[in-house]
Structures are given as structure tokens and as C-alpha cells.
Amino acid sequence: MIRLVVELTDRCNLRCAHCFDDRHAGTGDLPDVVLQRLLGEASACGVTHLSFTGGEPTLHRRFREIVRDTVESGLTFSFVSNGSTFPRLYSWLAGHGKAFLGVTFSLDGARERTHDRLRGPGSFRSVMRAASICVARRLPFTLNMVLTKRNRHEIEAMIELAARLGSGGVRFGHLMPRSPGADDLELSLDERLAAEQEIWDRRSRATVPVGMAPGYHADSPFFPCGPLELEEFNVDYRGNVTLCCHLSGNGEHLGGRDRAGNLAHAPLRECLERLETMVAEYRAAKRRRFERGALEPRDYSPCLYCVRYFEETAPLQVVRPMVVASAGEDQESACHKAR
């Protein structure tokens, strides 16, 4: 059984401090031709569930039709949302019965000020409204918090909030490296480990399920996350089938090495077979590195290792320009030189 994370759009109505620019560049929705192929071929490839992300997935101009077609294809679905559009969706959503496995609301602070500082004014209350609707209409929901320097101290409060709101659980995840402008938000490796320890400690006392998205420190260098177990893959909003939703958005900097093909041009089965090959190569390379004793402490945080691996194996990488005008030069001429 395979789950697919499907980025329906890179459009978003928020401008979160820690998000990849590529994720909300507003350049497009997942093309219809890709969706048709995906839904037509998914079941035959062993796919049972679609998890819609973005951008804000509910902003896809055909979101309702996509959900309808998903259900008619015999698949279950869930989605991640900032909650802002939920008041327009809930009554329609409730009609999908058991095919709808739930919505995850992004909540990056247990306190309004913390969350809104990261995601924009009013966004905390949008999530609270969405949670209120879910409770009143008995729709399953969970919360997801991306750990940053600004909210790392609210782990305990977040777990308590999730419990009191009636959430089905709370999941914490690390900020992926290379989020532009996120240098002041990203936890150091030591801070990551400390946050993880706090989460594991508090989990045992929590009254709601508490988890961490894959990417946390693992004692084994061969961490069994969904993609590496061949259980979960990603489709980005351009139709690229990629290894992992965590790496998506990093793809440009990885030289596209995490891509197995584009559904506009290749069948899903072919893309999934390439991913299997890609994972086998990845595992073999990591084992060789492990046997050489060449793994560094940060390599035991799986997502950090993945970024390193794909960067190192990318034949061509995009380099972010850092233009500094020297004395007597204006910015414009400096930019010309950089090109």
C-alpha cells in the first residue's frame, strides 16, 4: 500500500516566515492532465491514499472536483491546511464519510502571538475557527507544528492545547534546511536534539497522541521513513514524482535528483519504479558511508542526511546569488556581474 502526498498548488494565502519561497510562489496548480493520470493509475499501482498539501491545497481552483474524483477512484484522502478556507468547506467535506481521514491544521505556536508572528496576523484564530467547526461537526483533525527558535519553548503548551481543543493528536516536525530567510528560525543540531528529547519525554504523559514527523534523530543510520520504506512518495505541483514531501521545495537546490519523472510525460508506475531504484542506490551509498565510518552526527537526523546526499550527488546545482556591491559600484551593475 502506497500513500501519495500530492501538492495541489504552490499558491498560498499566507506568507509564513519559515516556508520555502517556491512553495508559495503562486505560479501554478497541479495540471489537470497530471491529476487525471494520477487518479486513473493510482489504484493499479497500489496507491490507497492521497494526502493533499501545497501551498494551501484548498486554493486549487478544482479542489472539490479533485476530492470527488479521488473518492470515486476508491482512494481515501486527507489534507493539510492553514484553516482559513475551512468555514467554506466543512459542510461539503462532511459528506465524504469514511473516505475522508482527516485534516491537519498547521499551528506553529500554542500562543496566538507566537503563531501569528510566524504566519501572519489573524492566522491563529483561523485555525481555532477551523478546530471549532471540526469539534461541532465531528470531523477528525490533528495539529502540526514546525519547530523553530520562536516556538521551541511551547512544546508542552502545544500538547496541552491539542488535548484541550479535542485534536486527534499533535505532530512536531523540524524545519527543513535551506528555507530562505529562515536562518534565524532554524534550530541548531543540539537544539533539535533537546527539543526531540522534550517531545519524547512529554509524550508519555500526554492525553493525546504526540508524534514527530520523520527527520528526528535516530540511533540507527537506516531510519525507516515512509519514502525509504517505499510506502509514501510525493507529487509536486508541477507533476514531478519525487522521493519525499520534506525534500520538496528543496528540489531546485538538489539539482532535481529527488525526482523520478513527471506525470505529464511518464506513467505513474514508471515513476514509482524509478523511485525504487533511487531508494536502493541511496541505501547502498549510505551503507558504504556507514561502513567507512564517514557518517557525521547530523547524518543521524535523516532529513539532514538526505539533503546532504542529494546535494553531493547532484551534477548541477542552483547557487543562490549573494551580490555585494563593492565601493563605487551600484547594486545594478553588481547584479550584472553576478549574472
Binding site: 468555514p87 466543512y90 459542510s91 496566538e112 484564530r125 481555532m128 475557527r129 478546530a131 471549532s132 467547526i133 469539534v135 461541532a136 461537526r137 492545547l161 484541550r164 481543543l165 479535542g166
Partner: protein, 92 residues
């Protein structure tokens, strides 16, 4: 109970459902409350800054109730809202 002007508590998030129900969530206590159709009308009036008498008149306009009954409904709900910290006395 005080007869002073009442306003929604700033820590309350209200969500209207299907046009005839309102869920209130107090961000401090994290408790949810549900208002029925009549309660929702009263809540909307509170948000508009209406005072008790004006709210009661609005109820009379919308529903076939006596002035006494409308005033009583408003008083009962406003008292409950204040008690649960969903509304507070407005500064004059």
C-alpha cells in the same frame, strides 16, 4: 446581575455554522460553547455593540415573542456569557 453594557470577550473566537448556530471558543479556558439560532442572533447583536434593549427589540423583530420574553432571553444568555467569560462588561 449588572445591567451594564456587555461586549464579546476579546479572547473568544466565534464561528458561525450553517447560518443558525455559533460555536464559541475561549482561548484562555479552551472551552467550546454552542449557541442555538436565538443565541446566535443575540451574539451577533453583541458584536455590533447593541445594548440589551436593542437586542431584545431585534429578537422581537425576528421572532414572534413578547417584549418581556425577549428581554428575559437576552438577560439569561448575557448572564451566562459573562459567567463563562465569553462576554464582559464594556467600559463606558
Amino acid at each position: 446581575m449588572s445591567q451594564g453594557a456587555i461586549a464579546p470577550h476579546p479572547d473568544v473566537v466565534d464561528t458561525e455554522l450553517d447560518g443558525h448556530e455559533t460555536v464559541l471558543l475561549h482561548l484562555g479556558t479552551k472551552k467550546y460553547f454552542s449557541l442555538n439560532a436565538t443565541g446566535s442572533v443575540i451574539w451577533q447583536c453583541l458584536k455590533q455593540g447593541l445594548e440589551r434593549e436593542a437586542i431584545a427589540r431585534e429578537l422581537q423583530r425576528r421572532y414572534d415573542v413578547s417584549a418581556e420574553r425577549a428581554a428575559q432571553s437576552v438577560t439569561i444568555l448575557l448572564d451566562a456569557l459573562v459567567e463563562q467569560r465569553l462576554a464582559c462588561h464594556r467600559e463606558q
